[in-house]
Every structure is written in structure tokens, then in C-alpha cells.
Amino acid sequence: MLKVGMIGAGCIGSLHSANWQAVKGVKLATIADINSDKARTLAGKLGLRWTDDVNSVFRDKSIDIVDICLPTVFHKEYVLKAAKNKKHVFCEKPIARNMADARAMVDACKKADIKFMVGHVVRFFREFIKIKEQIESGAVGKVGVVRTSRCVGFPRFSPESTAWYSDFEKSGGVVLDLLAHDFDWLRWCFGEVERVYGRGLAHKALKEHIDYALVTLRFKSGVIAHAEGSWAEPGGLKTAVEVAGDKGLIDFKSDGAKPIHVSIKQIGSESAAVETPAAALTSHFTLELQEFADSIIENRLPTPSPEDSMKSLQVALAALESVKTGKVVRLR
């Protein structure tokens, strides 16, 4: 049984902790956070050990896997610690804030001969898997134009997270934090990107807790893709995908694909509190973490591979460069 130590008890940390418990072949052993209240609260809910000494997780000989659930700028430091201490490492997306860090992380893990996977969780969303399968089965013929959309309100999980998400140098805004998901999925489906042109608000509105970006990708295969990323949309996450080909079209909107929609009458008012609980037998986070566990147990590359995560970052950084300079950015 592989033992997991989690670093970071914030939003993604609390999601992962619940999901690690459903992964076969592993056991979540400890939760670490420099904020002892957060670590204690989350670990307490699950009846686990906790610590505010995050380095103790790396020293702990019984820990096989470290799960880095920290803000982007800390990814490199902690992944390198994992490599140094020969612990397999799972890391939240995006892999890093810049290419040099990403490369150092990938190289260190390779050298240490440990498994390394980045949480591009969209690859584990059933709708995105199904769409990819349909494309591969030829259902839409040759793909012409693809549109993706990922829209949500500004992340406000805690005052600390709001602070780093609104700092462009730390988060990279929607292009890096949100569109990284779609860029990774698009690369998974359509291969490598040739050039990128994007527009976004990161440089002028991120500080005021708004970001929005529209990015056009041209793939080597000729496919044209348009990705929308928004932290300007009040309300819960909405995603959409449209894949148009010469034989057909796939259309998906998360808003129209909810199996449950609940409206609760508010006392003294006819306006309803609306809930749309997710309803799936297995969460995409469980599937994602299971893939990583399996890659260790079966001693193989995980999907996405470290190279995949690096290339997806490259696309996001190219989009950011285009947003900043206004120019077309070609990928090398």
C-alpha cells in the first residue's frame, strides 16, 4: 500500500484528500500545511495525521507519494524536494509559472527515477473523454474548427488564494490557471500547436479581480481552435465544447448536461436558491489520482506525461506572450 503525504490544505487540497481515500492501492497518511488551523481542520475531518512542518513529509520514510496542492509559484521548490527525497510526486496544474522551472522539475524527476504527474484533470472528465473518443471514431470526420469555453467567477476560496490569483506574476491569470486545462485537452486531441494569438485582461483587470481571455490556436494539423477563459462570470463553473468537422458537429454545454437541478423555496420569497449537485459514480479527481497511483504500481508513464504538461504550459505561455505583445507567437 503506497502512502500519500499531502502538502497544502486549501481548495484543491481538500478536494484531493477526499478523493485519495477512494483510490485503490494507496492510503492518504498525512496532511501538511504551514497554516496549522487549515491542516488540523482538514485532517480532523478525515481522521488523519497533520503537521505544520511541511518538510517533515519529505523526511518521513514511510511516505511514497507527495501531492503538491500549493499555489503555482511553489510547485518547483516542492517537486524538487520530492525528487531529492525520491518520492513520487503529483502536482497541481499548471506545472509551473515559467518554462525554466518546468524543465528543471521534469529533469529532476527523470533523474531521480520517480513518477511525476501534473493535475490536468480535464483529461478525466467523462464528457471530455467521450468527445475525444467520438472525434477519434470519425464521428465528425476531419476536424475544422473547435471552440472551448471555461467560465467561472473569480477564485475566492480564501483571502490568501484571492491574493495570489490576482497577482499576475504568481498565477498568470485565466490563461495559465484556467485555459491550461483546455490547452492540455486540445493538445491531447489535436497534437502540437503551430501558432497562438490571444487577447486578455490580465494586465489591466486582474488586480481588480477580473480576467477574461480569448485565444486562437492554430495546430500543425491545420485545426483552428478558439478557447475562452473567464474569471468574469458570477456563478459556478460553466464549460462548453464544440467540435465541427466535415462530416458532423459535436456540441456540449455543461449547463444543459446536469442530471439534477434543485430549486429550494426561500422563506418569505418566491426566488429560489438553485443547486445543481454533481452526480457521478466516480469523481474525475479520483480517476486522475488513480491514474497516477497505477503508473507507479505498473511502473509506466502517467497520462498526462511530464512532457505533456510542459508542452501544455508552453502553449499557455505563448498565449500570455501574445496577450502582452499583441503579436502572433509561433511555438518552437
Binding site: V145, R199, L201, T216, I224, K247, L249, G326, V328
Partner: protein, 328 residues
């Protein structure tokens, strides 16, 4: 009663304009069409006289014409109508080149006739409502717009470059560009486009992704692709716009008032639009501007500015770089 001549039924929208004109009490007295069959059919349907020569139609006592020919002939017919002193309602895109568009504007100005470009989307009650909401600052400051004008591949002269001037880009860029300009009251200053032929075996573009920068830093994208499957898609296409403002977002889907039909013989679902007929407002505004002698509500300049974006998109895709507008 205003007497109108139709200069070609080549564009399918003209049938709808003619129907609206008749409903509004205008009289269609003459029809010119280089396709005799089509022209005679139109003349018969609207109880008008068929003319094989448009010059003869222009020498009758009509006050105005509807130019509905192939795009490449808009200039010839508009200039001839202007010189004959007839007001012009011209189908979009206004022309196939900037030079032609400028010549049309000049001819109509010199001859003191009205030139209106057929951008019926401006007459959608939903679009008018959104324009008002923006004017009322409902969304705060507008930061970005995401637009689409998808369609099926129309075939016919639309895919012959000599007649249409281009494919999906020239066909489907101008409507939403015009809506953006009209709603924002701002002009496009830079255009970038990826353009290709990926859906049909054609020698003309059938898909694109266009990015525009407006004065004041607003950016927008527009997908003008003929990407709706011709046989299986339940509708002709769409006109959508999403607005991002400092206070919130707004989604506009101009033709979303529709029902879905599942029919055993059609073997596909079909959407039926039941919203207002936007052509009616367009045609009425044209007649009103003649009766009241007021400026064209959608001018030749509006047509030129929308065309400019389409032309810039083609240039951009060719050089693979953003292109500045207006052209020098």
C-alpha cells in the same frame, strides 16, 4: 405609395425584403435579373414587370431599388441606380473591395440618393434591447466580446470567388462586426485572422477565427465559419454575442426563440424560429428614410467599415500577422 425596383433575386434574402416591402404598402413595379427564369418568377410573385435590362428598369418612375445581385455586381448596379436618381437598399456585404464600396458611397452622395446597407440584425428586438442595456451601463464598462455567425455552406454563387468576393469570411464577418460597432459606438483598429478551407471541397474559404481590437482597448473574436453540417444540423446557423463587462456578462443569441421538431420523415431534429422577422424592421426603416427624407439608418459608411474588417481578415491570414485598419 413608394415604387420599388428589384435589381436581382440572386441573394435569397431579397425574397424576404420584397415580401416585407409589399406588406408595408410599397409597390414593386419592376424586377431585373440576369437569370431570366428567376427574374420572371420574382416578377410574377410580386406582380411586377420583368426587365432583362436594368437600365430600362432604372428609367421607369421607381423611387428606389433593392440591390440583391451577386456581391461583385453590387457596385455596378448601385452606381447605375444612383445616377438614375434612385435610392438604394443594398444587400451585404456591400461590395467585394474597399474601392468599390467607396465608389458606391460617392455615387450616392453625388446624386443625392440614400444608400442603406442590409444589416437586418440591427432590427432584432433582442439586439436593440442589448444596445440599450449597454447604453444604460448595466454591465459596467465593456471589456471584451465573443461573437459567432455560424452557417451552413450556402453553395451556388456564394462559393464562386469572382461573384462573391470570398467565402465564409466575407459572407459572415459583416453582420456581427456591424453589431459590435453599432452597440459599442467604437471602430475596429486591428484585425487578425486564421482562415482555411476545412469543411468542404471548395476553392474558397469556409472557416476562420477573427480577432479584432477596438478603439479604447476592447477586444473581440468572431467565428464566421460555415461549420454547421449542411444536412444534419437542425438550423441554418447562429448570430451570438457574449459581452464581458466590469459588472457582469451578457449572452445574446439573436435567433434563440425557437422550438425543436422531431419528425419521422425528416430523420433529424429541426429548430423553428418564431421570433420577430428582423427583415421587416430593416425594410421599414428604408421606406421611412425616403418618406421622411432622413439619413439612412444603416449607411454606406457602416457597410464600408464592416467590409473593411473582412478584407483585413483576408490580408491578415495571408501575411500571418495582425493588420491595421482603416486602410490608408
Amino acid at each position: 405609395m413608394i415604387k420599388i425596383g428589384i435589381l436581382s433575386f440572386a441573394h435569397m434574402h431579397v425574397w424576404s425584403y420584397a415580401t416585407c416591402l409589399k406588406k408595408l404598402g410599397a409597390q414593386i413595379t419592376g424586377v431585373y435579373d440576369d437569370d431570366k427564369m428567376r427574374g420572371k418568377k420574382g416578377a410574377g410573385q410580386f406582380e411586377a414587370k420583368y426587365f432583362a435590362d436594368y437600365k430600362k428598369l432604372l428609367s421607369t418612375d421607381i423611387q428606389a431599388v433593392v440591390v440583391g445581385s451577386e456581391n461583385s455586381r453590387h457596385k455596378e448596379l448601385t452606381v447605375a441606380a444612383a445616377r438614375a436618381g434612385k435610392h438604394v437598399l443594398c444587400e451585404k456585404p456591400m461590395a467585394t473591395s474597399i474601392e468599390d464600396a467607396r465608389e458606391m458611397i460617392r455615387a450616392c452622395e453625388e446624386n443625392n440618393v440614400k444608400l442603406q446597407i442590409a444589416f437586418p440584425c440591427r432590427y432584432s428586438p433582442a439586439a436593440r434591447c442589448v444596445k440599450q442595456m449597454l447604453a444604460d451601463n448595466k454591465l459596467g464598462k465593456i471589456l471584451a466580446i465573443k461573437g459567432t455567425n455560424h452557417g451552413r455552406m450556402p453553395g451556388g454563387w456564394f462559393v464562386e470567388k469572382g461573384k462573391s468576393g470570398g467565402g465564409a469570411v466575407i459572407d459572415h464577418t459583416v453582420h456581427v462586426t456591424d453589431l459590435m460597432r453599432w452597440m459599442l459606438g467604437k471602430e475596429v483598429k486591428r484585425v487578425y485572422a486564421e482562415i482555411d478551407t476545412r469543411f468542404h471541397k471548395l476553392k474558397i474559404d469556409d472557416c476562420a477565427m477573427i480577432t479584432m481590437d477596438f478603439d479604447g482597448g476592447i477586444f473581440a473574436t468572431l467565428d464566421p465559419s460555415w461549420s454547421r453540417p449542411n444536412k444534419s444540423y437542425p438550423f441554418w446557423g447562429d448570430v451570438t454575442m457574449k459581452f464581458i463587462g466590469t459588472n457582469g456578462t451578457l449572452d445574446l443569441d439573436l435567433f434563440n426563440q425557437k422550438t425543436t421538431l422531431y419528425n419521422e420523415e425528416q430523420l433529424k431534429a429541426a429548430w423553428t424560429y418564431w421570433g420577430d422577422n428582423i427583415d421587416f424592421g430593416l425594410v421599414k426603416s428604408f421606406l421611412d428614410s425616403i418618406t421622411d427624407n432622413t439619413p439612412s439608418p444603416v449607411s454606406g459608411y457602416d457597410g464600408l467599415k464592416a467590409l473593411e474588417v473582412a478584407v483585413a481578415a483576408y490580408r491578415s491570414a495571408k501575411i500571418k500577422k495582425p493588420v491595421e485598419v482603416p486602410f490608408k
